[in-house]
Amino acid sequence: MHIVVCIKQVPDSAQIRVHPVTNTIMRQGVPTIINPYDLFAIEEALRLRDAHGGSVTLVSMGPPNAEDTLRKALAFGADRAVLLTDRYFAGSDTLATSFALASAIAKIGATYGAPDIVFTGKQTIDGDTAQVGPGIAKRLGLLQLTYVSRIASVDPEARLIEVERRAEGGIQQLRTQLPCLVTMLEGSNTIRRGTMADALKAARAQVVIWTAAEAGIEELTKCGLRGSPTVVKRVFAPGSRAEKARMIDPGTSARDTADALLDAIFAAQGALEADVAAAQASL
């Protein structure tokens, strides 16, 4: 099996700061990490490879220093890594990103064998859109399984995959044909620690670096800022809350506590009390 995993280098959100004047994210000096959701995708890919044989290819689009992120991901035990880096990619939104990654995956398929499964994380922690995975699937004509919490089985012979997908109100059990694209949910597994041999291999590995042209992309107008219809209108930091938490005397019974809580809420939100009263009256 050939499995491709899309990963992204993101700023470590635990250490991010917003510029007080411009409201933009201050990236300078903020350490970068592998998008945490992608780690679940990497681990799932490695497990499938270990069970069924084959290889795992990592792909990322980003600035040249994303090579470090790919190298770090290689140390978990992936077989190769491809970095898409080109100034034409700068300023990509989710549409342009999924175009570039889909093109690269097609090229990866032509170079290292057609992928049976493409993995992505559920979403990134810096964009939070969850659009790139489905965008890639659509462009490559792959069946898509999003928000997957567990891979129940994969049968490479029968070309079948069964997964559990978290949906509103429950878990869906889905079965479909390979090849497909899977976006992995958080908590679905725990990323492994690569062996000494994996780490040594990663430290010496050559990350394959492709420009737009090398990835076989001819339509440069679909890349980067030019290929991105999304416009950021305004960035702002939410103001800090002026109100302080208020402690409520819990009372002796649950009923007293509930009454005290309702009184406190209605005291602060007069309109709400009227709404509730109106709703009760209409029952």
Binding site: R193, G194, T195, M196, A199, L200, A203, R204
Partner: protein
């Protein structure tokens, strides 16, 4: 286990480890460097001042791309009591040269650069890999290491222990002892961010010029300790350290001392309005010459802080670390070139080279200083700063008292505090230790 064998394994990617790994790789040896941190530098803490001469001997053209903060044009030594400081400042335009002698650096950035150089020199650098124990052959020669990764045993002709002040591996292997509390200082440091132009106006600097303040005094509450304030490009590092044994005795907490140091009227205006972005703590070897452990053995050498190579009097550590790393690498290269085995008898060349260098010569010069400052902490870090401050105040305070009476008052206060014999004794002891 990894089948591949290396010429040398370097444990740690601090100053000494990077110097050793770089020099070995440049000499064409097959080097594996193992670092437990996420990146080289992620675990490393220093003030930090970097001395150019020692790095030049390893990477002559480092100024081209190393992340340097400011070159130092002014050094201030302050003796402080609770409300004042008596200072000696040295500032010279001669420090504004093409090749300045001292720089402030930020280790996180600097070590990343150094590590890149190590990789470019041809060494294999593995991070997030902790060496858990040494591996021996049946004759007791070190032949490799075990790491915390699965299948994590690797073999090499020689292991360079550059694991830092705690020296867990060396201690476990019985090559050295756990550092005694009176032989290590605990230093804490904060990075205070300020706009570049504010730093420049407060310290009277322009461009990349930098200023360094080092101080002793009542802020250490009678403990053996020093405080510092270093200017970086866009932040000021403020910190202090005292002997661990003193902290244990007095039950003072380091961050409380740092808080009160920052509130000192001589310090507060220098960092006013800043934003603290980083807080770090680190142990510093203070034992000096007498604390240097066995430096080599069958299949191993120890360098840097792990070998306690730190000059507490001159507050130099990273240059001793770099030099010891470089010399260990040179010695290993020479033994290797002669196709000799990496046994103690051959690796003693490293000790000889170190003995002949400034590293051991300097430490030898001050061999009695740690003991003197430790046993006389109250006098040197509390009584004298107070007396000096009082003397300076008496000298500059004009109130109609005849000068002769002022001088008498000053000498009386010194004698009262330390007695004539005590003063002479302190002077002699200090002179002897300095010799």
């Amino acid at each position: 286990m990894i089948d591949e064998k290396f010429d040398a394994i370097v444990v740690g990617a601090g100053m000494s480890g990077n110097a050793a790994a770089y020099t070995l790789a440049k000499r064409g040896l097959k080097v594996l460097q193992l670092e437990r941190g996420e990146t080289a530098g992620s675990k490393n803490v220093q003030g930090a001042i970097m001395y150019a001469a020692m790095l030049e001997q390893i990477i002559p053209d480092f100024r081209e791309d190393a992340p340097l903060e400011r070159h130092i044009v002014e050094q201030r030594f302050w003796m402080m009591d609770d409300t004042s400081h008596t200072g000696m400042h040295y500032r010279s335009d001669d420090f504004n040269t093409d090749r300045p002698n001292r720089y402030t650096i930020i280790r996180a950035a600097f070590d990343k650069w150094f590590s890149r150089k190590v990789r470019e020199a041809g060494a294999t650098v593995l991070t997030e890999t902790t060496v858990t124990e040494l591996v021996y052959d049946i004759r007791g020669k070190v032949i490799g290491v075990k790491t915390d990764r699965r299948g994590g045993q690797v073999h090499a002709d020689v292991v360079v222990l550059a694991e830092g002040v705690n020296g867990l591996l060396g201690t476990r292997a019985g090559f050295r002892q756990m550092p005694k509390p009176e032989m290590v200082a605990l230093a804490v440091k904060e990075m205070h961010f300020l706009p570049q132009e504010v730093i420049e106006s407060r310290f009277n600097l322009k461009g990349d010029e930098g200023c360094v303040v080092e101080a002793a005094g009542t802020f250490s509450r009678g403990m053996t300790g020093l405080a510092f304030l270093y200017t970086n490009k866009e932040c000021v590092s403020v910190g202090l350290g005292c002997l661990v044994s003193d902290f244990a005795r007095t039950m003072e907490s380091p961050y409380e001392l740092l808080e009160s140091f920052k509130q000192h009227p001589s310090i507060r205006p220098l960092i006013a309005g800043s934003e603290v972005k980083e807080y770090a703590a680190h142990l510093i070897p203070e034992g000096g010459f007498k604390a240097i452990p066995q430096l080599y053995g069958d299949g191993w050498v120890v360098v840097g802080d792990a070998a306690q190579l730190n000059n507490a009097v001159h507050r130099e550590g990273s240059n001793l670390a770099m030099t010891s790393g470089r010399l260990a690498a040179e010695a290993i290269f020479q033994v290797k070139s002669r196709k000799d085995p990496m046994i103690a008898d051959n690796l003693k060349l490293y000790k000889k080279m170190l003995d002949d260098s400034f590293v051991v010569k300097d430490l030898k010069k001050y061999k009695d200083m740690p003991n003197l400052l430790h046993t006389n902490a109250q006098n040197f870090f509390l009584t004298y700063p107070q007396l000096v401050s009082k003397a300076a105040k008496t000298f500059v305070h004009v109130d109609g008292t005849p000068k002769i009476d002022k001088e008498k008052e000053t000498s009386r206060s010194f004698i009262k505090a330390r007695s004539r014999l005590g003063l002479i004794g302190d002077a002699v002891r200090l002179a002897m230790a300095w010799r």
